[in-house]
Amino acid sequence: MALIEIEHLKKYFHVASGTNHAVDDITLKIEKGRTMGVVGESGCGKSTLGRTMIHLHEATDGIIRLDGEDITHAEGKDLKRIREKMQIIFQDPYASLNPRMTMEATVREPLAEARRFSKSEIAQRTEELMERVGIERRLRLAYPHELDGGRRQRIGIARAIALNPDFIMCDEPVSALDVSIQAQVLNLLMDLQEEYGLTYMFVTHDLSVVRHISDDISVMYLGQLVETSPAKELFKRTLHPYTKALLSAIPSMDVHQPMQRVQLRGEITSAINPKPGCRFAPRCPYAAEACNDPQKLEEIETNHFVSCCRVHEINR
C-alpha cells in the first residue's frame, strides 16, 4: 500500500509579476519502504513539492494522503502528530542547524518537543541517535561551525530520525558535500532505511546519486511531472523527450558505447503565469501543434507514467 499519495497537488506563489506555478497538478504515489527519487533542473519545483508534502508549505490545492488519511489541511494536534511521522533532511547542513545550539541540543530538541519522554529517556535516546549516525561522544557539545559538512549532515539526519518517522523527505542532502562524504551519508541513509523501514523521497539534481539510491524515479519540469517509473525501467527505456535529454547527460563509462547527447536548445521558460500546454514544448525537438493543449499523465507500461501527447510516435 502506498504510504504517501498526492493527487493534483498544487502550490502557487504570488509574486510581483504574477503567479508562480511552482508545483502544478502533480499526482504521485510513494510505496512504503521505497525511495522515490525526484529529479529535474534547478527551480523546477522539486523542493517545493517535498516541502508542501510535509506541510512546511500550505498546499494551494489538491490532496495529500499519509497512510490513507487525508492530511492536506491538518492543523493543531493533527499537524503535530503528522510532523512526527514526516521529517525532512535539508540541503545545506550548516544553514539547517541553529548556530547557537550544540549538536546534542539539536538532536534532543525533537524528543523534548514531543512531550512524552522523561528526561532520562531523552538523554538516553539522544546518545543512541548520535552514536547511530556516527558522531563521536566528544563532539556532543560542539557547535555547527566547529564541524565539517558530513558531521553536520549526520546531525541533521539524527534530528530527522529522532521520533521514528515513517517518511523522510531528503532535500538534496548530499549536494553540499564532498564526493567521498556523499557516499558515507548515502550509505548511512540506506542503512537507516533498512533498519527502520523508512520511506524516502529523495530530491536531487544529481543523476548518479538518484540512480544509486532510488527505487522509483519521478522527473519534473517546471512544476509538472513529466515521467514517473521504477528506476530500472526508466534507465532502460526513457519515454519522455525531456527525460531522454536529461539522462543522456550522464557521462558514459563505456568507451565502446559513445555518448549520444540530446542537446536541448533554448532557455528554460518561466513558471510564472505559464501557458496551458506542455511546458517543455518550446525546447522539445518533437514539439507539434497538439503540444499546446494541456497534457495528461498516461500509464504507458505498468507503473510507468508519461505526460506527453506524442509519446507513442516518438518511441516507436
Binding site: 512546511l56 535539508f90 541553529n98
Partner: protein, 308 residues
Amino acid sequence: MKDREEERVRDKARDRAKHKGGHKGKRKKKNKSQLGQIIHRLYKNKTAMFGLIVIILLILMAIFAPLLAPYKPTDMDYTAINATPSSTHWFGCDNLGRDIFSRILYGARYSLSLGLITALIGCFIGLFFGTWIGYTGGKADMIWMRVMDVWSAIPGQLLAIVISTALGAGFLNTVIAMSIGGIPGSIRSSRAMCLKEREMEYLEAARSINCSKFKIMYIHMLPNIVAPAIVGTTMSIGTTIMGAAGLSYIGLGIQPPSPEWGAMLSAGRSFILQYPHMLIFPGLALAVTVLSINLLGDGLRDAIDPKN
C-alpha cells in the same frame, strides 16, 4: 604492537601541528566559542578597550561616589562661592559654593543609570516586538511598520520634551520620555535582522519538529540576532545620555539640586564668561562618557561582525 605504532604516528602528528601553529596557547584559540572569539577580537581593539576602561572607571566612580567625593554634592561652602579650581576644590565651586568635582561624581550616577536603563528598555522592547513583527511578516508587519514610520517621524528629542512636560520632571519620567523616542528605531533594526534570518533553514527545521511559534521566535531566532542589537544598544546609551542632559538643560529632566550634568551646565550658563569652569567640567564629563561609550560600541560592532 599495532596500537603502539598508531600512538607514535599520532604523537608525531601532534608535534607537527604544534610547530605549525606556534606555541600551544595560540592553537587553543581556534577552538574558542563564538563568544570567546568576540571577546578576543574586542580585546585586541585598542580604542574599544580604552572606551571600556573609561566606562568601567566611570561606573566605579558612580558606585563609590560617597567614598571618593571630598564633599557632599549639596553642601554649600559660602567661603568658596564661584571658586576657581584649586587644591581644595579640584574642579572649583559653583555659584552656591558646591564642590563641582563631587557633583560630577554623583552626577555620573544619574547619567549612567539613565542611559543604561533607557537603552535596555529600548533594546528589550525592540527585540521582543521586532522579532515578532519580523517573523510573522505579512499584514501585521505592514501595519506595524507604518505605525513605526509615523512614530519615528516625530523627532525623538521633541517627543521627549513633550512627554516630560506632560508627565513632569523626575528620574522615572525622564527614563520614560527618553525610551519612547528610541523604540521605533530598535524595533526597526531588530525586524530587519529577522527578515534576513527568517529564510534560514534551521527555522524550517524547528518548524518541522513541532516547535511552537513562540519557541521558534524567541529561543531559536532571537539569540542569532541579538549581537547587532547589543551594538545598537551600546551606541544608544551615548545618545540617551546626551538627550537626557539636554532635557535637564532646558529644565525638564532631573531637577536641581540633584547634581545632574545637564542641569549643572544649565545652572552655569549665566557665568560662562566669568567662571567658565562651571561649564567646562560637567561638559567634559559628558563628552568623555559619551565618547568612550561610542568607542566601545564601534569596537563591539567590529568584534561581532569581522566582515565589515
